[in-house]
């Protein structure tokens, strides 16, 4: 690879995975002292965030190549290696993971039930997410990809709301079905490659060299695509999300929308597209149309929801539709916009979930019909709710706008019709967001005349998110810079 791999170097990437795992283990060992577990989880996530920020500052400005690369033998008999690599795309996602996970821990501070287990599951989730965003060996990736389901499953099924069991099982089986198909495709690819070259390996860089007939390539691509499409989720495969989303506890919801959905998109970018370039090229129009359908279908569904958590589930599906549209446009600006939009969506929607959870804590409801007049009940909270809602609908100057405009600009250059239709989709977003804001923030006061406003802890959670939303909206350059080289390389069909 690059010079970075040649030098003996501190294994930062491995540490990013091991640190949360270690924290999880310590939490379980300290299971008699709930208070300590909280601090332990916070310290672990803070340390992880610290490392990612350090990596961003020190390595984030390199314009191409692997910023960091680690490789070790693991299961030689089957050519499985422990290979991790960090490029601009994974750097941003790793940063987002570390950030949101710390928010999730802070947000779950008042969790009463089975505290040690809760935090250790959150930390395991963080470790697997890091693994997904860093793994370059397909088997290693698959391992993290599957294990990730488990902590999420337990978070939903133990700490979730009323229909948690149904939602948890549905989430697990739905995503599992997709990934098992991917596993088969993966093994077939591995065998074909092994027969051609004589070396059996799961390394991404090697498997990309495989000669495939166009039919083989299409079938394998579809196998991978199914797994990622379910996780993203693209529209015909999205029905698990609203359930899982609504029933999950707040930390689970933040992770689900903020991070889990991103793993599907990341999988497309990192694995599905580079492994099967020909199939990708011929499938892009379909992908674009599916994404467009998703934007509208989900926006329409969101408009009709009364449960605000469910509304945001659909809104997320609509947003990732736009992200995938940007990818399908296959244009540099659109790709950068898509990745930036992932980041922005993770933060702004994450913040909204935090606020929804706070509103529910205080009013006991998430039903739009029973909410109203938040501005006079708790002005600080209402202000932030408005702020993040506007960010989410793409107000210029706030985070989502920067991503959306880049996606639309880029798409317009290759597929003007798509871009034109997508713009209408953005209007749809405005429609349901304004209906939401109108219902929650303004209107006649329902319930108690005043509610307790934000506490310092809650400000501590929301303020950094607000700052980031502004930063991404006003000056996204520092985040775009590491992206550029990586995106150019992947679009050219290579690795960073």
């Amino acid at each position: 690879m690059t010079a970075a791999s040649a030098l003996p170097q501190f294994p930062w990437l491995t540490l990013l995975i091991l640190l949360p795992l270690g924290g999880a283990l310590l939490c379980l060992l300290h299971h008699r002292r709930a208070e300590e577990c909280r601090w332990l989880a916070l310290a672990t996530t803070a340390a992880t965030l610290g490392i990612t920020i350090y990596l961003f500052v020190c390595y984030g400005q390199g314009d191409s190549g692997w910023l960091l690369y680690e490789d070790a033998a693991w299961i030689p008999r089957y050519g499985i290696r422990f290979t991790l690599g960090l490029d601009g795309i994974s750097l941003l996602l790793v940063l987002l993971t570390a950030f949101l996970q710390m928010i999730a821990v802070l947000m779950s501070w008042s969790e009463k039930q089975h505290v040690p287990m809760f935090f250790s599951l959150l930390l395991v989730l963080e470790a697997t997410l890091m693994g997904i965003f860093l793994a370059l060996d397909l088997m290693l990736f698959f391992l993290f990809w599957e294990v990730m389901l488990l902590p999420m499953f337990f978070l939903i099924s133990i700490w979730g709301h009323e229909r948690r069991h149904y939602a948890a099982i549905k989430f697990f089986l739905y995503t599992l079905a997709g990934s098992m198909v991917m596993l088969v495709a993966l093994i077939v690819l591995y065998l074909i490659h092994g027969e051609q070259t004589g070396t059996y390996t799961f390394a991404l860089a090697e498997l990309m060299q495989t000669d495939l007939s166009s039919q083989q390539e299409m079938l394998l691509f579809l196998g991978f695509l199914l797994a990622f499409a379910i996780k993203i989720p693209l529209v015909p495969f999205h029905t698990w999300l609203p359930d899982a989303h609504t029933e999950a506890p707040v930390a689970g919801t933040i992770d689900l929308t903020g991070l889990l959905l991103k793993t599907g998109i990341y999988g497309l970018i990192r694995f599905a597209f580079p492994l099967f370039p020909e199939a990708t090229r011929s499938f892009l129009p379909v992908l674009g149309i599916v994404a467009l359908t998703g934007i509208f279908h989900a926006a329409w569904a969101a408009y009709r929801q009364d449960d605000i958590k469910r509304l945001f589930a659909y809104s997320s599906i609509s947003h990732v539709g736009l992200v995938v549209l940007g990818l399908a446009a296959w244009q540099l600006t659109a790709w950068e916009g898509s990745i930036l939009l992932m980041l922005a969506h993770g933060i702004s929607t994450g913040a909204l979930f935090v606020l929804i959870a706070l509103i529910r804590q205080r009013t006991g409801t998430r039903n739009l019909a029973e909410l109203g007049g938040l501005w006079s009940q708790a002005p600080q909270m209402a202000f932030l709710f408005l702020f993040f809602s506007l960010a989410s609908l793409g107000l210029p100057g706030l985070a989502n706008f920067a991503g959306e405009i880049l996606v639309l600009l880029g798409t317009f250059q290759t597929h003007p019709v798509w871009a034109a239709i997508a713009v209408i989709g953005v209007v749809f977003t405005a429609a349901y967001m304004l209906r939401l804001v109108q219902g929650v923030v303004w209107g006649p006061v329902k319930g108690r005349p005043t509610l307790p406003d934000l506490t310092p802890r809650e400000w501590l959670i929301l303020l950094p998110m607000a700052v980031l939303v502004l930063w991404l909206g006003l000056y996204p350059e520092p985040f775009l810079r590491p992206l550029h080289g990586a995106v150019v390389n992947i679009m050219a069909g290579g690795l960073p």
Binding site: I75, P76, F144, E146, I158, A177, L183, V184, V188
Partner: protein, 472 residues
Amino acid sequence: MSLPDLLALLPILILVFGGTVILMAGAWYREPLPLIAGGIVTALLGAVAAGLVQPPVVEIAGLFSAGAYARFFTILWSLLAAAGLMAAARYIIENSIGAGEYVSLVLYAAAGMALLSSATHLLALFLALETFTLAFYILIACNRRCTLAAEAGIKYLLMSAVSTGFLAFGIALIYASSGTLSLPEAVIKLSAATGELHAWGLLGWGMVLIAVGFKISLVPFHLWTPDVYQGTPAPVGGLLATGSKGAVVAVLVGMLAVSGPVWHGLTDLLWLLAALTMLVGAFSALGQKNLKRLLAYSSVTHMGTLLVGLLCQTSAGLTATTFYLVIYVITSLGAFVIIASLADERGEPMEFDQWRGLGYLHPVRCGVLALLLLSLAGLPATAGFMAKFVIFEAALQSGYLGLVLIGVLSSVISFAFYLRVTMLLFEPDESVCRWHTGTASEHAVIAVCTSAVLLLGLFPGILFDLIGRILP
């Protein structure tokens, strides 16, 4: 039998003579603990002898192999017997079962399983199979005050009797068509035989297959499994689910490794059996409300997956099958021992209602049970995933894409029922009550099984290398 032969048989002799001595001692000396400890020591000695004493001959009297592969399974089954006895100690004492009888029967069963895994001759196969089946009839029903166990014992006896009939008839037909009873030779001659003889030979192998099908509960010969598992006390169930099935699979693997590809006439039949077994097992398990019955159906599914590996007949397939088998044995044993360790004077927790919320009262064991179940389902990072992965890999290499897709479907369904149990374990429930805290020996067995599952899940290379070296 010459002296080298006897020396090669040493591990088996230790098990059998040790068992007999303990049986005799038990007639006079009724204190259970020393007898059980003696049994455990004997089993461990058997394992040590199999591992350390270099056999002077490769084959014993043309009946049993003394090769590395046979030795490996001798060690495995001896260790299994030791683990089974460690898990059974409390069961024996609390139900005042004759310790001498119980211990000696477990040792005989282990000897039978070890012999079966090393059989290279059809008669040896028959004898070894009957040896441990006989021990199991008694072990299943050894608690005379339990009617469920008696029912299970009778069921197992009847089913085994039927399958013995098939086996004996099948062997006779094979002999008639091929003129030999030596296992690899009989298999090879089947493909050489022509005309009517070939047909008779195929019929004979078909009958042996039916007998095997009964023993390892392939669909449609699996109907006894849930009832017998439910009635069998967990310490015995742990042996029945693992050793009695594993030994049969092991002898098939050993045979295929020597004989090379032989299934020709039977491939389609085996394909169908494997597909049916994986699907019917998984679908039937979905509706269960009893953990032991669920484990029974899960074992049916696993046997179907093993059959996929056997069907491949490549060296990759056989390695995969052996790996899968070892992992299955370890994981299943762990699950049964956990059930046994929770048992108290009310019996064993079996019904799902008894398990609900138990994870908060017995966090470690329930957590481990969840882990083992997820390993059985094939969650990555546990040994179960590696096992499934290598089977699928081997099957795809041999071109059985359809079978792999069916396997994938059955895996997804399996996840559904295993997850239901894990969810149940950690579902907050006020009415849940405590069970036994378990003894040190039970905890030790659970700890060993769990560490093996985790270790082999992350570093499966250790076992792959070993299997690669021992497979003939």
